[in-house]
């Protein structure tokens, strides 16, 4: 599906199927394009991408909230195979616990919410896994990975990444190009989340399951033990939170309403007021 600007005067295509042919394309040179998207243009985000995006949002926040609830019942972290209140923690989170058996600096015990939190945590994990499978299969089949997320030809030099970062930090307007295609830093970040952080958070979660590790012991042994898996699960979760914070911040800077509209309806407007 070619996405070519409709004005006729802007010959420099930023459409996904039309990577720039210049050998040393510089990202900054292209982003001054201000071609408005005609209504007949294909959607900014395909329906499958939009639906799986919002299902992932639901799963993520359910996992985050219930994950915090579960951590409260034992806010101590360890390396290796075992760890409990009789052993030295690697670190503790200075919060009260929902269990009286855990020593904290506080005199009170928080209410125990682990039951429904665990039920919802694993149900949301299934939602994340199944949604991720649909997204991955669709993206392989449709070329979404190759076309929209793999580094575009001519945008793979350090200079391209540096340009995006510089322009972002200077808050220069980049809306026209970015309304149609992801910039190099976006592509790298999304790929790292889709193929790095999310698979790793699922792996470290499964490595805590006694039945799963009975069937596949290497999943926990490769990590260095059950408690290491739990501690890494905690860290990767925060890496994902950091991603979400930056992601929402960048969307706000680029134009919250137009980007939200693009991810809800599929239609992108080049400008916030369009």
């Amino acid at each position: 599906m070619p996405r070519i600007s409709q004005t006729g005067t802007q010959e420099l295509s930023v459409g996904p199927d039309h990577a720039p042919t210049r050998s040393r394309a510089c990202y900054a040179a292209r982003v001054s394009t201000t071609a408005p998207l005609a209504n007949s243009a294909p959607p900014r985000h395909a329906a499958v991408v939009r639906v799986t995006h919002w299902l992932t949002v639901i799963a993520f926040f359910a996992l985050l909230i219930t994950g915090m609830e579960i951590v409260i019942s034992h806010p101590r972290f360890y390396w290796g195979e075992v760890g409990n209140v009789m052993t030295q923690p690697a670190f503790t989170i200075p919060i009260p616990s929902s269990r009286g058996s855990v020593p904290t600096a506080y005199k009170f015990v928080m209410p125990d919410e682990n039951g429904w939190s665990r039920y919802l945590h694993f149900e949301a994990a299934w939602l994340l896994v199944l949604t991720g499978l649909v997204y991955a299969l669709y993206s392989l089949w449709s070329g979404h990975f190759r076309r929209d997320l793999a580094p575009a030809r001519g945008e793979r030099s350090w200079r391209d990444y540096r340009d995006v970062l510089r322009m972002t930090l200077r808050r220069e307007k980049t809306d026209a190009a970015e309304a149609q295609a992801y910039n190099p830093v976006q592509r790298a970040t999304y790929l790292a989340v889709i193929f790095g952080l999310i698979p790793f958070v699922i792996w470290t979660g499964l490595a805590m399951s006694p039945a799963f590790t009975a069937a596949m012991p290497w999943t926990v042994e490769a990590l260095g033990g059950r408690q290491t898996a739990r501690t890494l699960h905690f860290f990767v979760s925060w890496a994902l939170v950091l991603f979400v914070v930056v992601h929402v911040t960048m969307i706000s800077m680029a134009g919250f309403r137009s980007r939200m509209r693009a991810m809800v309806t599929g239609r992108a407007a080049a400008r916030e007021d369009a």
Partner: protein, 252 residues
């Protein structure tokens, strides 16, 4: 919005039909192969069923990880439970000589076993990890009589699907499917780390299910009931756990 073309409409219709049919077939297969947990209803039922079914398909006979003797925790954490009753204390003073494990339900020979009876049967020891749903864990050596030995002794009906187990604490009972009940690492545990099982860790008799989390490992076991359905037992959810908000299956 683009107009809905006939082709799109047909595709969506076929996809929806395939989806509904797929769910119906999956439900039939799940029932046939015993992949539905007793707490498969409610808003968390789908997630619970997926977890239980997936882990059963993945490894019905897989063994929980066992560890070298050098990894036994020097000071295992003793999770505090309700203080024992006076009757328990009298039994303890008597060396638990009068402790009985009753077995009833779908068995050919209902009866009861003393600790001496259990110890005279085949025993097994294993060094496995106890992992609590809260996040902590420790490793210990557990010595006991495989539950499968007791079940063989009483003769289990071929249609039996669950073994429920009850303790001196009326509110702490549980059950497991026959896959776990006949599993070689599921022990009626009476020894720990080369000694008797201490009272704090569930002595004189504790159910040890190393492929599931700590709360399935009920302490102070006094009775087993073999059944083909959890519906008629207590609240029908298969365990005290769902009533307390926790899932029946604790393999994760």
């Amino acid at each position: 919005m683009k107009p809905l073309t006939r082709r799109k409409f047909m595709t969506a219709g076929i996809a929806a039909t395939a989806g509904v049919a797929g769910v119906a077939i999956a439900d039939r297969l799940a029932r046939r192969y015993g992949l539905l947990p007793p707490d498969d209803g409610g808003i968390y039922g789908p997630g619970e069923t997926l977890t239980y079914a997936a882990q059963r398909i993945l490894g019905r006979h897989s063994l929980a990880r066992e560890f070298p003797r050098s990894m036994i925790s020097a000071s295992p954490f003793l999770n505090p439970v309700a203080p024992p009753t006076d009757a328990f204390k009298r039994s303890q003073a008597n060396g638990f000589a009068d402790w009985r494990l009753a077995v009833d339900g779908m068995v050919a020979h209902p009866g009861s076993f003393s600790l001496a009876d259990l110890k005279s049967m085949a025993t097994r020891n294993q060094i496995t990890e106890v992992a609590c749903e809260e996040g902590w864990s420790y490793i210990a050596e557990w010595i006991g009589t495989p539950l499968s030995e007791v079940l063989r002794e009483v003769g289990v009906h071929p249609r039996a699907r669950y073994v429920a187990y009850f303790s001196i604490d009326h509110d702490w009972w549980d059950s497991m499917d026959m896959g776990d009940a006949l599993h070689s690492q599921t022990l009626l545990t009476w020894g720990m780390n080369d000694g008797d099982l201490p009272v704090g860790f569930g002595g004189p008799l504790r159910m040890r299910v190393p492929r599931q989390l700590g709360y399935k490992n009920v302490k102070y076991i006094t009775r087993l009931t073999v059944t083909d359905s959890m519906k008629g037992i207590r609240d029908g959810l298969g365990s005290a756990a769902p009533a307390g908000g926790y899932s029946w299956y604790a393999g994760i």
